[in-house]
Amino acid sequence: MNTDDPLEDFPDGIRADSMIDADNANDGLVESTDPDDAQGRGDNAIAVKEVEGLSQGQIVWRRFVRHKGAMIGMSVVLLIAIFAFSAMGFGPVEGWWQYQDPLRTHSMLNNGHPTLTMPVWLGGEGFALGDHPFGQDNIGTDYFAAVMAGIKTSLVVMVVLGITVLIVGVAIGALAGYYRNKVDLWLMRLTDLIIVLPTIVIGAVLGRLLAVAPDKFGWTYETTQAIYRNMPVLLAIVLGLILWPSMARLVRGDFMTLRTREFVDSARVAGASDWRIITKHILPNAMGVIIVNLSLIMSQSVVLETALSFLGFGITAPNISLGRLISDNQGAFQTRPWLFWWPGLFIILIALCVNFIGDGLRDAFDPRGKRLPSKKEMLKASIKSSPTNTELDEAVAELIEDETDAPAGTPAETTVPGPQNATTANDARDNTQEGVEDNG
């Protein structure tokens, strides 16, 4: 990662460092390894301390794991995936749900109302799935099976599309960025061509192509059936073939800067082939951009696939997509609103979670994004530097923490009596304010 760019100082980075800087100056625990660093001793020292003995991957992973939004997003997506795949089965494996065929009609139960009941603490009558947890649609099919099948489709499309974009986008971006000149020119013309049209427009045409082709060209029954069976995968690949330009552009940009770096030159002098330089030397350094962009494309793909299916140009019958469920049932909104809510809820959940994962990845890969210590840690650090009783100090620190917004010098003294404690409180406050003001 490119960390020596002077423009890359970020407010949080500076803030965190300047505060800890004061701490280190008092403690003298951490020693700077690079005295020439223009950022100052503390900055480098804390950076070194935090990543001591870790590989790039480990550093990124640690940052990612610390990101709450990303972790929640990750767990929710995994839960949804496990739930949907185990309920409806995957490949030859049967799922645990009693109705494996989402197209089969059942007799109408309670006018199709959902039988799912909430646990008691949520105001329900105890948790139970019932016969049709998500209700039934107008002709009596089990909506739970349909929605789960739709989630499976969405997830399959998301993953396959991600892989397609990864392969095509990275390959084209890498070639254009590494070889430049003619190769670059033509590959970038190609991306310009695809970027010109809104994705939904090309997607609709290609989706239509997929649906029309077997009939139009009179393909055999087996081929047609195979196409319909694998519709989600095929559609994902086709959509991946139009979503790669943003990936290619970013990878190209990264490659253009990386190929001029010294380590590439040295690899070339050592006799490495182009293939080896691209895959072993440059690509690992461009992984951050690739992974972050991939997560964004994947969240976009969930919405794109459902939108196309909603219009009727994406996943077609007998396959089930969440978008198709919404479009089929929008007329029943007045009488059976749950037919509308369930698929929408899961589209939003999946897209939202993937977006959060992307946000976490972006923060994790951002070389500027150093961890901002929490208020408590900062107070602790500043108190450690003042030579007094630690237990009392912590009590005071907690009080100060509650008072950070209030004007200085009011309630802290009144609640903690005694002259010595009052001075400690002031010391601590001075220290924290010093830290905060550095930032302003």
């Binding site: 100082d9 970020f10 407010p11 949080d12 500076i14 013309r189 310009d192 061509l193 970027i195 010109v196 049209l197 809104p198 994705t199 939904i200 427009v201 609709a204 045409v205 290609l206 239509r208 192509l209 029309v212 082709a213 009939d215 139009k216 969240s299 919405v303 459902t306 939108a307 909603f310 219009l311 009727g312 140009f313 978008g323 919404i326 479009s327 929008q330 909104f333 007045q334 509308f340 929408g344 589209i347 939003i348 897209a351 939202l352 977006n355 959060f356 946000d359 901002l372 917004d405 209030a406 004007p407 302003g440």
Partner: protein, 508 residues
């Protein structure tokens, strides 16, 4: 420079040409005009198929069909939709204006709202406000536009129309909205705990009171601002504008704003009688607005002082506010007539189409009609692009606020208002020049969904219906127009950015 422009234009034409080849080949494969006939049980099926094949030249190789289309296109014959036999040009004529009005209104709204909130969010970085805005924008970003659109159509339109028919105060909703507004303003204005409390209380009470007043007093049956409303809102606007652009310490700026406000109030009755006496049009409205701004500039200029430009700018904002308020007031006065029109059936919020069919009336009623119809599709589009603008503008503002020149501005003792409004904001807005044109293109894509769901006969819907009916000519025209639009927008983005940012040099 000229060489650069020529090169870019030639490149654009080339791109469009290649695009047309690929698109034509793709669409030609994707459409199947014989689909309905192939499944039909008509006894003279063969004859029908032969006729249609001859009409659409399906028996000839693709390249011939492409050539016929291309030669027609460049000579101005854009073909016809073969199902309805309507020429493409007449289909497109209306659709373009419908689509662009939707896209432009949505972009403008999303831009103003998203950027303002993004900037405030950046200024309050790492506060509860910032985190909530981030979360909300993530949720909005993940919303599928079609889902929102169906929801709005089925839920909001019906609910809102019922509500407008019989307005009654629902206290739970009013209190919830008040609390949300209170929290919003509290987070946006910030400050000490005491100040936060005051802001929260004031905002919540004002919001709740206004809502309850509006609903409870029957204002919604005959809404109007009257001269008092115009004067009060205008005065608040005048002070707010002066506070932001010049600071109330700048007396000359304050006086020119207040004078402009005074002129606006004095012109209220003459304008109303003018509006009632003569038929209005859009061009006349815009002309009036421009002349108001001209008068305001004159006022600011006459007040003189060392920085006339600041006074003039502030005054013209006030003039625009006053003009728009007066215009809105006149519009609202026509609302009862619109509401009771037989074609509207007392259900003003439209869900289908861009206007009430067969409605023939004066400028004001027609304008209300346009507004009530554009409301829901715009909300659907704004909700989604709002999120990306917020995120984007927040990032840009943070980047700028961390620059050395901001530190310098603060170090030399400038008030925070000047630092933010003059030094930071202008630079933070610059990247928008590159983003808006590109975003317009993606909104054209988003409009495909919205138009289809809300039944607007715009470009997007034309595309969808033509694709469903296997008509290649309208599809090709759509693709070329949208493609040309995107290319022009990208060109515009480059030029605007080079114009605004002196660090970027256009080299041929």
């Amino acid at each position: 420079m000229v060489r650069y422009i020529i090169r870019r234009v030639l490149l654009a034409v080339g791109t469009l040409l290649v695009l047309s080849v690929i698109a034509h080949l793709m669409i030609d494969t994707a459409v199947d005009p014989l689909e309905d006939l192939r499944l039909s049980t008509n006894p003279n099926k063969e004859l029908l198929i032969a006729n249609r094949t001859a009409m659409l030249e399906l028996d000839k190789p693709w390249i011939i069909r492409y050539w016929h289309w291309l030669s027609g296109f460049v000579t101005g014959d854009w073909g016809e939709a073969w199902v309805s036999h309507e020429p493409v040009t007449s289909l497109l004529g209306n659709a373009i204006s419908v689509s662009f009005s939707l896209v432009i209104v949505a972009t403008a709204l999303a831009l103003v709202l998203g950027c303002t909130i993004g900037i405030v969010s950046a200024l309050r970085q790492y506060t509860g406000f910032d985190y909530s805005i981030t979360f909300v924008s993530f949720v909005l970003y993940s919303l599928p536009v079609f889902w929102v659109a169906v929801l709005l159509k089925q839920f909001m339109a019906i609910g809102l129309n019922d509500f407008l028919g019989n307005p009654s105060v629902n206290w739970t909703v009013v209190i919830a909205v008040s609390v949300v507004f209170g929290l919003f303003w509290m987070g946006a204005i910030g400050g000490s705990t005491k100040r936060k409390g005051i802001v929260f209380g004031t905002a919540a009470v004002v919001t709740g009171g206004t809502l309850a007043g509006i609903i409870g007093s029957g204002w919604l049956d005959a809404p109007r601002l009257s001269i008092i409303g115009v004067a009060v809102i205008g005065l608040a606007g005048a002070f707010a504008v002066t506070l932001l652009t010049a600071g109330t310490g700048n007396r000359l700026a304050l006086f020119s704003s207040l004078t402009t406000w005074g002129i606006g109030v004095a012109l209220y009755y003459p304008l109303m009688s003018y509006f009632n006496a003569y038929a209005m049009s859009w061009s006349m409205s815009i002309l009036l607005l421009l002349s108001a701004i001209g008068v305001a500039c004159l006022v600011g200029f006459l007040f003189g002082g060392p920085d006339r430009a600041v006074s003039m700018r502030g005054a013209s904002f006030v003039a625009a506010i006053m003009g728009i308020l007066t215009w809105v007031d006149r519009l609202l006065q026509s609302y009862p007539a619109y509401y009771n029109n037989n074609l509207v059936h007392k259900r003003p919020i439209g869900t289908i189409g861009a206007m009430t069919p067969n409605l023939q009336s004066d400028y004001w009623i027609m304008t209300i009609d346009r507004f009530t119809h554009i409301l829901l599709p715009t909300i659907a589009l704004v909700l989604i692009s709002f999120a990306s603008y917020t995120r984007y503008q927040r990032g840009a503002m943070l980047e700028v606020m961390n620059q050395d020149y901001i530190r310098t501005a603060r170090a030399k003792g400038l008030p925070e208002r000047v630092v933010i409004m003059r030094h930071a904001l202008r630079n933070a807005l610059m990247p928008l020049a590159a983003v808006i044109p590109i975003d317009l293109t993606s909104l054209v894509g988003g409009a495909v969904m919205t138009e289809t769901i809300f039944g607007w006969s715009g470009m997007g819907r034309l595309f969808i219906t033509s694709l469903r009916q296997h008509e290649i000519d309208p599809l090709m025209s759509y693709i070329i127009i949208v493609g040309a639009f995107a290319i022009i927008m990208a060109l515009l983005a480059d030029f605007l950015y080079a114009l605004l940012d002196p660090r970027i040099r256009v080299n041929a």
